[in-house]
Symmetry: C2
Subunit: 258 residues, 2 copies
C-alpha cells in the first residue's frame, strides 16, 4: 500500500513574531507510520517543525508544513499525482486562522462610530444586523500588522474558520481508506463516541479515532476506533492504537482489492 | 560573575490544546551564555521548551518555563536567593495572555443585550462608556474553555496585558547590570534606536540591544547595543552581538567593583 499520514500540529501566524499553535507531539503519528513501514508499506508523511518524526526508511518520504493553508497546498499537489490507498489524518489542524487584531480602544471607536450612524437600539433585529455588519467590516479590514504594539491593556483578536482539510481529502481521494481523528477534552465516553461518529459521517471517513486529552499521558493513550456502523475497537496505548489502525486499514484494503 | 540569562519565547495557553507562542530560536541567548561560560563566569539560564540550549558546563544551570506567569514565578524565586551581577533578558516574552474567547454569535448577543438595556446612541460619551463596560464584563467572564468548539465562522479572542517582567527584574535586582532587548519589524534605523533608548529609560536598563527582524537571517543579525547616553555599538552577527555584550558587561562590572 501507499499511505499518506499527517501528524503534528499546525500554527497560524498572528504577526511576524507570534502565532497560534495546536499542540501535538507527533508521537502517535510516528508510531503508526513505523508500523506500516515495518509491514512493508510505503508512507508519505506530512508533519510540522516541532513534531517527532518516524525513523528513516527508504519507503518513507517526509514533507514539512506550518500553516493550514500550506497543508492544503501540499496535499492538493500530492493528490494531483497520487491515489493513496489510505490517508491517516492525525494532524491537529487549526480550526481558525487570524483575521485581524486591534486594540480595545480602536475596536470601541469603530463600534461607536457605526452605532451612532446606524443603530436603532429599540429594534433588536436591526441592532443585531448592524452589529454583525460592523464586526464583519472590522474583521475583514486587514491592515497587516508587522508586530502588534504592546501599548494597550486589552487586545482583540478576530479569528476566522480555516478550510476543512478532511472534507477536501475525501473529495480528492474518493476511494482511499480514510481515517479521521477527533480529540475532545473532559467528556464522557458516550459523548466522545457520539461526536466521533458524527465526525465520521460528516466527513465521509471509513474510520475515526476518537480520544480524550484527559485519557492521554506518557504511558497510556485511550482511543476508540469507530467504524461506519458505530462499532468501536478500544486501544489503551499509542502502540495499541497504531496496531489497531494498521490491522484495520490492511484488512479493509484487502477487502476492497479482492 | 554570576549571570542570569533568559532566552527563547514564552507561550500563553488559549485552551488545553492551543496556545499563542512568541517565536524565538534561542540561538542568540545560547551564544551569549557560551561566551560568558568560556570566560569563566557562572550562568543561570532560563529558557523555553523548543529553544536551543547552551552546551553543557559545570558553571551552567538551566531552568525551563512556558508562560510569562511561570517566568515571573521562577525569577522571583531566584531573586530571593541571589543577587546576580548581570541579567541579560533576551527572552521574547508574550505581552498578552488569553483572557477569554467567544464566538461571534455569543459576542453579538451579549453586546446587543447590553445596548438594549443601557445605551443611548445619541450620546457618544455614554455610548462609549457602555461599550467599555460591556467589553470589560465579557473579557472578565471566564468560563474556562477546555477546547474551543470549531462550530462557528468567527471567533473573538480577548487578550490582556501580561506583567512587565523587565520592570520587575530591575525592582528586585537594583544593582545588577541589566540588559534589555527590543525587537521591531521593518522600521528605520532612527526609529529602532529611538524606541530602543525609550525601552532602556522606561525599564531602567544599563543597556538595550535593539534589532529589527528584517535584518536577521541565518548568517547575519544586525544589532545595536545602546547605553544610557544613547551611544551605540553595532554588531553584524550573533557572535558579534554576543562578544559585544560580554565585553560591555564585563567592563561595566569591573567599573562597579573597583
Amino acid at each position: 500500500m501507499h499511505l499518506l499520514i499527517t501528524a503534528g500540529g499546525t500554527s497560524e501566524k498572528i504577526d511576524r513574531v507570534r502565532s497560534i499553535t495546536n499542540h501535538s507531539t507527533g508521537k502517535l503519528g510516528k508510531k503508526i507510520a513505523e508500523q506500516f513501514l515495518e509491514n512493508g508499506h510505503r508512507v508519505t508523511y506530512v508533519t510540522t517543525p516541532y513534531a517527532l518524526r518516524p525513523l528513516a526508511s527508504t519507503n518513507l518520504a517526509v514533507l514539512e508544513i506550518e500553516t493550514t493553508r500550506e497543508l492544503e497546498a501540499v496535499l492538493l499537489e500530492l493528490f494531483e499525482e497520487t491515489q493513496f490507498d489510505s490517508v491517516i489524518h492525525s494532524m491537529a489542524v487549526s480550526d481558525f486562522t487570524t483575521e485581524t487584531s486591534l486594540t480595545e480602544d480602536s475596536f470601541i471607536e469603530k463600534l461607536a462610530n457605526q452605532l451612532m450612524k446606524e443603530a436603532d437600539v429599540s429594534d433588536v433585529t436591526k441592532l443585531i444586523e448592524t452589529l454583525y455588519q460592523t464586526i464583519d467590516r472590522i474583521g475583514q479590514n486587514k491592515q497587516p500588522e508587522k508586530k502588534i504594539s504592546s501599548d494597550t491593556d486589552r487586545l482583540l483578536l478576530f479569528l476566522k474558520k480555516n478550510p476543512k482539510i478532511i472534507a477536501m481529502i475525501r473529495k480528492k481521494q474518493p476511494k482511499t481508506v480514510l481515517i479521521g481523528f477527533k480529540l475532545l477534552v473532559g467528556v464522557s465516553k458516550e459523548e466522545l463516541l457520539r461526536v466521533g461518529l458524527n465526525t465520521l459521517h460528516k466527513n465521509d471517513c471509513d474510520f475515526v479515532l476518537a480520544n480524550d486529552l484527559e485519557d492521554i499521558s506518557d504511558n497510556q493513550h485511550l482511543g476508540y476506533l469507530i467504524n461506519q456502523d458505530g462499532q468501536t475497537q478500544v486501544a489503551k496505548t499509542k502502540a495499541e492504537i497504531a496496531t489497531t489502525i494498521v490491522e484495520t486499514v490492511e484488512s479493509k484494503w484487502r477487502l476492497k482489492n479482492t
